[in-house]
């Protein structure tokens, strides 16, 4: 699409954004090619000697072994799949709900709009993590439950963002024209308003993926992750509960840094996108005033006058 090309060109000029893209795609790569990249299969049963438990890194296990004797590096690589899946799916849900609510609230306004915004305000006031904790602990653990819980609570900021954008767009000429020509509400929204809002949604979406990944890792760390799948958060949970006293840094640190890596990459991408879509002011009034005179020539030239010859 046109939009993607434009955005890519803008990205090329921003090294931090490109760094973010690299960071994200490197993890996607790892996730996709996990079976080929991981030296061991984390699910396979292995024979372990007591000294293998929490063994420090060596030639065969670059990141050492965990409390069950399994290779940390392999778990780390496969863990990318879980974290990315949760991140992308949950944030897709978030963006979808948030955009829909925002579009409807902004476009139709009135009582529907107000009611929706009250709902948004209400959800915003309820603290997220405690509510997620309550839900999962009552409902049970599982990947889809986590995705749903994160998705159900995260859409509020997107809704607000989209709504304020729609409010400013819907009074513009081309929208009023479309409506005058008889376009239905749905058509007006989808063909005229939505494309304008899309760039902002994109920027917000990227940032929300990182939020979802961090949310999942927090829930897993606190013991509410899917016990069947080893996400980075779950690794940290095991590590914290079982390895902290031994200071097994090879088990404690890598999953966290992996989370930071992907999250930072997304944040860099997202901020760059946001800056492209919503360019920020580069200067303000309080700069160094001495520069103003740096080119001043001290000797004034002579002033010439000419008499009218007539």
């Amino acid at each position: 699409m046109e939009l993607i090309k434009e955005i890519w060109l803008a990205f090329r000029r921003r090294p931090l954004g490109l760094l973010g893209v690299f960071m994200l795609f490197s993890i996607i790569f790892v996730a996709i090619f996990a079976p080929w990249l991981a030296p061991y299969d984390p699910d396979a049963d292995i024979d372990v000697e007591p000294q293998d438990l929490l063994a420090p890194p060596d030639a065969e296990h670059l990141l050492g072994r965990d409390d069950a004797g399994k290779d940390v590096l392999s778990q780390l690589i496969y863990g990318a799949r879980v974290s990315l899946t949760v991140g992308f799916v949950a944030s897709f849900m978030t963006i979808f709900i948030g955009t829909t609510v925002g579009l409807v609230a902004g476009y139709f306004g009135g009582r529907i709009g107000n009611a929706l915004m009250r709902l948004v305000d209400f959800l915003l006031v309820i603290p997220d993590l405690p509510l997620m904790l309550v839900f999962i602990s009552m409902w049970g653990r599982g990947l889809w439950k986590i995705i749903l819980v994160i998705g159900m609570l995260g859409w509020t900021s997107t809704a607000r963002l989209v709504r304020s954008q729609v409010l400013s767009i819907k009074e513009r000429q081309f929208v009023l024209r479309a409506k005058a020509l008889g376009a239905s509400n749905f058509r007006t929204i989808m063909r005229h308003i939505f494309p304008q809002v899309l760039p902002i949604i994109l920027a917000d979406g990227v940032l929300s993926i990182s939020g979802a990944i961090i949310a999942e890792s927090s829930l897993s760390f606190l013991g509410l992750g899917d016990p069947m799948l080893v996400s980075w958060g779950m690794m940290l949970n095991f590590a914290f509960e079982r390895a902290i006293s031994r200071m097994a840094w090879w088990f404690l640190l890598p999953p966290g840094f992996a989370i930071i890596w992907v999250s930072l990459g997304l944040v860099l991408m997202g901020s760059t996108l946001e800056e492209i879509v919503n360019p920020r002011l580069k200067t303000h009034h309080l700069f160094d005033p001495r520069r103003m005179l740096e080119l001043l020539r001290v000797i004034p030239p002579k002033v010439e006058r000419q008499e009218v010859t007539e």
């Binding site: 001495r290 103003m292 005179l293 080119l295 001043l296 004034p300 002033v303 010439e304 000419q306 009218v308």
Partner: protein, 323 residues
């Protein structure tokens, strides 16, 4: 002594690529106490740039290339930033274009006026500062009690008057009014103009009015400076400029304005558009649009010619030779 004398002022802007764009070149004028000068020109002709240069308030990319700004005998361009800060507002003050936004929305009008008094040590006590702020508001026709209100509680015209009151606070020698009536409706415009005339008379102000509206200039200005493409096109007294314009641009400009005494006169517009800063013609800036220009006009910068004492304009006069 002349209150303000500007000599050969040139101001440029540094573009993103590092090139210098000449926004104003070789601008000179004089202003005496009790007199008013109107600076006229289309948008982009450099008039606001020159004003900002007088106060050294150009944006980050602005560079003063040459010239002198002599205020009561002292060249302000030689001052340090600290010295300049002391001069600002106390000697020269300015009423900005779009004065509506010139006020801080979370502070009262009174406090913003009183602030100027505090910065320049005009009054001794807070009590006196408040009183003086009240006096100033009264001078511009605003009830002093309203000083304790916030800008959003004032109408547009009131805000403009408040900003004028603020500009007068430290009894400056020179006041610059940049487009004081733009964005106001006609009735309010008339009020503001009457106010400026009255204040100038009562306080013996040296006033500079920057505008694109010749009507404003005709009403309140003793002298006129016509600018085009960053340079001075013509300068003289109001009478001279309006009754006997010499520069082709000035002539066309006057013709373009509807004349109430001659409703059937043809309204002439000037074809073309003002030059872009990165594409300035090498010769006379007006040559591309001039109806009487010759070859020389496109290549050489025209000199300032003194047509009559005090009435100057920049032209090669070739058209005189033709007729």
């Amino acid at each position: 002594m002349t209150t303000l004398e500007v000599r050969n002022l040139s101001v440029s802007y540094l573009s993103e690529e590092g090139a210098l764009l000449n926004a104003a070149e070789d601008v000179s004028f004089q202003l005496n106490q009790g007199k008013s000068l109107g600076i006229v020109g289309e948008s982009g002709c450099g008039k606001t740039t020159v004003m900002m240069a007088l106060l050294r308030l150009l944006p980050d990319a602005g560079r003063i290339i040459q010239g002198q700004v002599i205020l009561e005998g002292e060249d302000l361009l030689r001052y340090s930033e600290a010295e300049m800060s002391a001069v600002r507002w106390s000697k020269i003050s300015i009423v900005f274009q779009g004065a509506m936004n010139a006020l801080n929305p979370v502070r009262t009008i009174e406090s913003q006026i009183a602030e100027t008094l505090r910065i320049h040590d005009v009054e001794k006590t807070k009590q006196r500062e408040r009183e003086r702020a009240g006096e100033l508001l009264e001078m511009v026709g605003i009830p002093p009690e309203r000083g304790r209100q916030y800008p959003h509680q004032y109408s547009g015209g009131m805000r403009q008057r408040a900003v004028i009151a603020m500009a007068l606070a430290c009894n400056p020698r020179v006041i610059i009014a940049d487009e004081p009536t733009t964005a106001l409706d006609v009735m309010i415009q008339a009020q503001i103009l009457k106010l400026l005339v009255r204040l100038q008379r009562e306080l013996n102000l040296a006033l500079i009015v920057v505008t694109h509206d010749l009507g404003v200039v005709a009403e309140i200005c003793d002298n006129v400076l016509v600018m085009y493409g960053g340079r001075v096109a013509e300068t003289g007294t109001g009478d001279a400029i309006f009754n006997d314009p010499q520069h082709p641009y000035t002539q066309r400009l006057l013709q373009a304005f509807p004349d109430i005494e001659n409703p059937h006169a043809e309204m002439v517009s000037i074809p073309g558009i003002p030059p872009r800063l990165d594409d300035l013609p090498p010769g006379c800036r007006f040559a591309p649009r001039c109806y009487v220009c010759g070859d020389r006009c496109h290549k050489e910068m025209p000199p300032m010619i003194e047509y009559k004492p005090g009435h100057l304009f920049a032209c090669h006069l070739d058209y005189r030779k033709i007729s």
